[in-house]
Symmetry: C2
Subunit: 534 residues, 2 copies
Amino acid sequence: MPATATVPRPSRPRSWWGWGLADAHPDDAECLALGALLPGTLARPLPLPRIADLAIGRPGAEPPSSLAHLVTADPEERAAHAMGKAYRDVIRALRGRPGRIPDLVARPTGDREVADLLDWAGEHAVAVVPFGGGSSVVGGVEYRGDAHRAVLSLDLTAMDRVREVDTTGRSALIQAGALGPVLEGQLRPHGLTLRHFPQSFEFSTLGGWLATRAGGHYATGRTHIDDFVQSLRVVTPAGTGTSWRLPASGAGPSPDRLFLGSEGALGVITEAWMRLQERPRFKASASVAFGDFRRALDAVRAIAQSDLAPANCRLLDPGEALFSGASHDGSTVLVLGFESATARVDDRLETALDLARAHGGRGEAPTGGRGAGADAAVGAWRSAFLRMPYLRDGLARMGAVVDTFETAATWDRVPALIEAVRTEVGAAALKATGHRATVNCRLTHVYPDGAAPYFTVAVAGRPGDEVRIWDDIKAAATGVLHRHRATITHHHAVGRDHRPAYDRQRPEPFALALRAAKNSLDPHHILNPGVLVD
Amino acid sequence: MPATATVPRPSRPRSWWGWGLADAHPDDAECLALGALLPGTLARPLPLPRIADLAIGRPGAEPPSSLAHLVTADPEERAAHAMGKAYRDVIRALRGRPGRIPDLVARPTGDREVADLLDWAGEHAVAVVPFGGGSSVVGGVEYRGDAHRAVLSLDLTAMDRVREVDTTGRSALIQAGALGPVLEGQLRPHGLTLRHFPQSFEFSTLGGWLATRAGGHYATGRTHIDDFVQSLRVVTPAGTGTSWRLPASGAGPSPDRLFLGSEGALGVITEAWMRLQERPRFKASASVAFGDFRRALDAVRAIAQSDLAPANCRLLDPGEALFSGASHDGSTVLVLGFESATARVDDRLETALDLARAHGGRGEAPTGGRGAGADAAVGAWRSAFLRMPYLRDGLARMGAVVDTFETAATWDRVPALIEAVRTEVGAAALKATGHRATVNCRLTHVYPDGAAPYFTVAVAGRPGDEVRIWDDIKAAATGVLHRHRATITHHHAVGRDHRPAYDRQRPEPFALALRAAKNSLDPHHILNPGVLVD
């Protein structure tokens, strides 16, 4: 049926320089309190950056009159589209040295306009950087270099409608520019949900999730957005195409899988038929404390290798548990959650708790039942999870160097990998700053054959030298990942920051094929230059 | 750990012209009994074909002495590698008019030898057709045309070892030429299983499954072999590459997914790290009869959209149920099976039976428990399932035209699609033969958003005209699938038979990318020419 819901667009203004909503940033007092947690940070927070202080020049290209109504050269718009939201981006904004600011920002309202903009850009050597919510933490939406006459940020958020809903097959045709709450708000009247909740949910779009292979809500099983794709529509400089809506197919290599993770380098995903679910009616959750991190890893592996399929199965090391308030006694904490629209999940939770106890876990009483909340540790963790990027920016204003990186590896490699990251990244941070760093770890997603560790690093920086310090820390982390054959990213994408590591990780025949595909689909090399292939 | 098991290779000889084992074919008396089921078939079976009757010429190329020990021009070997095992192949063999017989058959024992053979073939314009178990039913392993100096069938079955087993992460490095029982036999001592059981299990290889995106054991959830791949090693004319062993990754488009389903056109998959499972300890199964096929479809959809995840959920229409012995009263039969290595599955079966009853199903008492067998309908269906291709060949010897085709579509399209296939394919068969055809349907795999219907067509042919009749029937089927936007194949691959339909189904930007990848990886166009791209 055609979708008729009104589109619930966000009303609170976004921060142009930092994470999320402008009015949700820590104030100066909060920044000071955060800074007090990290020895060596500044005595007072860096001032909020102002767009008026940036040197924003005249655009290097002008769109034809037929497209002019879609394009703006407004300095505020251009500044807000200059970078993503990594620590590296935030500190550059705070220091008044952002990445190259795009010449123009376009907001197309349909495929035809996207194609027309690509045609114009191809003819005029204008680089096109597709832009969804702009929450990239890997340099995915910024232009580097000078091979193009101008840079156009292609903001897709005007294409944010759920165009059609199929309640029989539980799927919907959704435009790529819909932010998480915007699409869920349109699905809710149909009793359906995409149930894809990355940390950036409020500030990222379906198209961004698809182009970066985002990891979502589910801690086990199908969590990458890839698995929920029924069909994609992609506009490329060489033409537009739509794959058939199919529940599964064995007809040649999957056409969608080539564009999933293509990060705007092969084409612009403009809409997708997505597989939906009923909202869960039954929930149960619990947390389990462990005295020993290694035994906790074994417990998580046992649960991941069962067919219990918890929706949440996140393991917090003692530092992460402390920071999020999930424990205060040096315990490792496992947060477990089950959900179903079909049947009660209490038995599954009990079986999982038995597995955890068999590996030394001390389970708290489960909470749950129909629509119930979670226990204290679960709740604490969830609030902290959504607040974390704001706190990071507060720490950045205190001159701290603080960000996250994540990976995935097979179980045989996980324990040594985590240990090596703690040791070597800690040493690199100490060397770069003279301060002891905090290096915390959690497992965000687990699989029968491996896990996705997620690391947070925080250390006091040296004023004005923060970018170099972070780059040194990240280089150490990248070295450890490579040596342990752990992927450069489980769900943050490659962007520009991970490009060298990605090139070393990618098998050479695939690199050849990808380069050939790029040359064929983007012959003028205007699409997100520098991402994935040259 | 390194795998140490001896390799349990098959000892009974394969049929060169028909399905499976040479000594398992229906004898003349059985053929006559089968023929009696189809009015208009021959009075006596066609004689068994003899290789000596084929005109097998001198090879058009000779390998260099360095590779000679890997290559044979033996007529029996060449005849056995000329075609796959579709009805179209069997009847051509029975009529003494097989497809082009390859000049040479090579059996490399490792990557280096595969690469050397590709190098030699590239230099001498020799087409290379990768060959696993040879069970293709879509013309996937036969050469058509005359653009090459000679044709080399690249038989991978000498590469059949499980090279390494990781019991911690439950995975194994398996060479691509291992047949189903050969690899399972090597995994068994480790208590692990790949649990991929296509109908061709005994006669197909891991490499074949990967190159064709085979559908397997599970009727719901992850069933395509794609989902069990951790890493692939691929030898291409442009070089060899191995993807990292990872439980998941978001680093660019999946490199493995480009080669999964590439049908030998982009490279030769020589080994893969595969995700394994524990053997199930708990099983339960039951069958449910329905008076109405449409209501049965609704029941299956309800089960597929629950999170019950049955391992078996196959719906047999009345004709299919009658033929397999699952029912004799015109009922539609749903065969349900649950299995787990973790916990009892009785509750899941009960909930599924409740859903079936809510849609008019009459459930038989479930059977099951630890290692238990299934009920009568389940057992009857399973035996018939494995015997079916042999019966098809018996009918072919009686001059019948009989084969299967399969597809997948979203639920909103499934009922009309099945009805249209019954009507239009039946009409096409009647028109081509003057006889009424049997057109049966089962659902082999079901998903929350759709299902995979599998059709069997049988009709008496006209002596000597069988191939044309089948092609007419298949053309009608293909037309229906295209009109209903149902994929040309859910798990049988594209091969040469489905190529025109695949070209119409595939989005054009992906076709451009695939052509570019082909040119880049196979610059001399020697790999399985005619498959996927030109």
